[in-house]
């Protein structure tokens, strides 16, 4: 569905943030992008969102290649691929009502239908009450805001949701509930989850891609990688994770 072939990106000539990265997002197969700071995962996400163009390599969406200049194509692409960001406090416009925040994709992508009804369905899908529509972001907690952000991401019924550390800024008890929400949603769409937290990725994603310093060092089924990590970086990563006492 979404393929990156030999994609590289550098903000300047000397600095390559991503080096020859190839990956495939297949329908219905949730995939986790794991990396620490400096791994290039944020850049990878921005490439997949069509916010920046690769310096080399190709990104294909279905049959077509991702052309950020083609507005008709981008309309279709944006309808199909939506993001959820990390910081619930900066990803919602504080001066907009929830109904307008969630409804923005419907407006900008010119999606037909009763906007209020569609927003209501999205709110229901994320477990928020309908009266949230008339309220403002500051009236909600971090976890609830993240639900609003997720509602915005799914309102246009996208094929892929790209979550960028979407639970990292949440408390543990909230985190688990949002992870459960993602799990439910991933039944109807394909989830691409970027995170440094292997535990979260392991709970959500069938497949995993491990990034180190702009390169893919390991990829495959989550279960397999966790059982037998092949690359030394993966091994180090797994060994570093603090575990619960038995």
């Amino acid at each position: 569905m979404l393929d990156l072939q030999n994609v590289s990106f550098g903000y300047s000539r000397e600095q390559t943030t991503l080096n020859d990265v190839s990956l495939s997002v297949r329908p219905g197969v949730s995939v986790g992008l794991v990396g620490e700071s400096g791994s290039g995962k944020t850049t990878l996400l921005r490439l997949m969102l069509g916010l920046i163009r690769p310096t080399s390599g190709v990104i294909r969406f279905g049959e077509e290649s991702l052309d950020t200049g083609n507005s008709a194509f981008m309309q279709r692409y944006r309808r199909a691929v939506q993001p959820v960001f990390q910081d619930p406090y900066s990803s919602l416009d504080p001066r907009q009502r929830v109904i307008d925040i969630i409804g923005e994709p419907l407006r900008s992508l010119r999606i037909p239908g009763d906007r209020t009804q569609t927003v209501a369905e999205a709110l229901e899908a994320v477990g928020l009450p309908l009266d949230a529509m008339r309220r403002y972001p500051h009236e909600f907690s971090g976890g609830q805001r993240q639900r609003i952000a997720i509602a915005r991401a799914i309102v246009a019924r996208p094929q892929i949701v790209l979550a960028d550390e979407a639970v990292s800024a949440l408390d543990l008890s909230t985190r688990i509930r949002i992870v459960e929400l993602f799990k439910t949603l991933s039944e109807k769409l394909t989830l691409v989850f970027v995170s440094h937290d292997l535990g979260v990725v392991a709970a959500l994603c069938e497949e995993m891609i491990i990034l180190e310093r702009g390169k893919v060092v390991e990829s495959g089924k989550t279960r397999d990688i966790l059982a037998v990590p092949k690359h030394p970086y993966t091994q180090r990563l797994l060994a570093s994770i603090p575990r619960m006492p038995a």
């Binding site: 944006r78 900066s90 001066r95 900008s108």
Partner: protein, 283 residues
């Protein structure tokens, strides 16, 4: 009530008092200004009484050195002040915000050039700049002054807008808006402008007051609009010689000037809170 709570509610009380007072002061000015479009007590241009008459039932504020009714002149002065304030801020806001938003989007080099240019413009004292413009133009008309002041204001507004817009553009909700398919124009109108409005509106109100004072200064120096456009500044200048014998001639326009500017400043806070959804409590 605990100390923290009482100070919050007291602050809210002060706020609404300030807002009411501000509205009252500016409102009075506005009403008077509008009234002069249809009616004034006397003819502003010609004498209607003796020279420098003291306040009486016929002439509530007395007459000036040419026998013209002072109240009439004062009322028209209100119209001039509001016209200048509104006009200058309107020009300054339109030009300034547009430039500022463009600058916020500009590439590093263009942005640096623009910022430097603005800084140079701002370094010029507003009054001096206005005087230069008025002197450079052939006619000293009200519109020249408004234009000059508007340009001076636009530089300040542009710089403020640029900084505020840049801060907003760094937020995730801007990226979210783009990935929702919104165009950059849509992002500016739907997200950037509403979020910079609170700070900008306060600034506009303050600039209004400064513009009114600047115009009064220009008129005082004889560079302002000629009659029939009476200006409080000109009234002050004319009353200079007779300030001891007929003090009302200086006191009245002085008070009017102060009242309008203070009223606008008081209104400034109120403007910011209007339409601010987070004015209540945030979680």
């Amino acid at each position: 009530m605990s100390p923290v709570e009482t100070s919050v509610s007291r602050r809210e009380q002060r706020h609404s008092l300030a807002l009411t007072l501000g509205l009252a002061l500016v409102g009075i000015n506005l009403l008077v200004a509008l009234l002069t479009l249809f009616w004034t007590p006397y003819d502003p241009l010609n004498a209607s009484g003796g020279r420098l008459e003291a306040p009486s039932l016929l002439h509530w504020l007395g007459t000036d050195r040419l026998g013209r009714d002072l109240l009439t002149q004062l009322m028209i002065g209100a119209r001039t002040a509001l016209l200048v304030g509104t006009g200058a801020v309107a020009i300054g806001a339109t030009v300034g915000v547009s430039l500022g938003v463009l600058a916020a989007f500009a590439t590093r080099l263009a942005d640096d050039v623009m910022a430097a240019t603005l800084d140079i413009l701002i370094a010029f004292p507003t009054l001096l700049l206005a005087m230069l413009v008025v002197a450079a133009s052939d006619s000293a008309s009200l519109w020249t002054a408004i234009l000059a002041l508007g340009l001076a204001i636009s530089a300040i507004v542009a710089r403020l807008t640029r900084i505020l817009a840049k801060r907003v553009l760094r937020q995730d909700y801007i990226v979210a808006s783009r990935t929702s398919g919104t165009s950059w124009a849509g992002v500016v109108f739907r997200h950037v402008l509403p979020n910079i409005w609170p700070t900008l509106s306060v600034n506009f109100a303050l600039q209004f007051g400064l513009a009114v004072i600047a115009e009064a200064s220009l008129s005082y120096l004889g560079l302002g609009a000629p009659p029939p456009n009476a200006s409080w500044g000109r009234l002050l200048q004319e009353a200079q010689g007779t300030v001891y014998t007929a003090p009302i001639g200086a006191i009245a326009p002085g008070i009017a000037l102060v009242a309008l500017v203070i009223g606008m400043n008081l209104l400034a806070d109120g403007l910011r809170d209007i339409g601010d959804p987070t004015r209540g409590r945030s979680r």
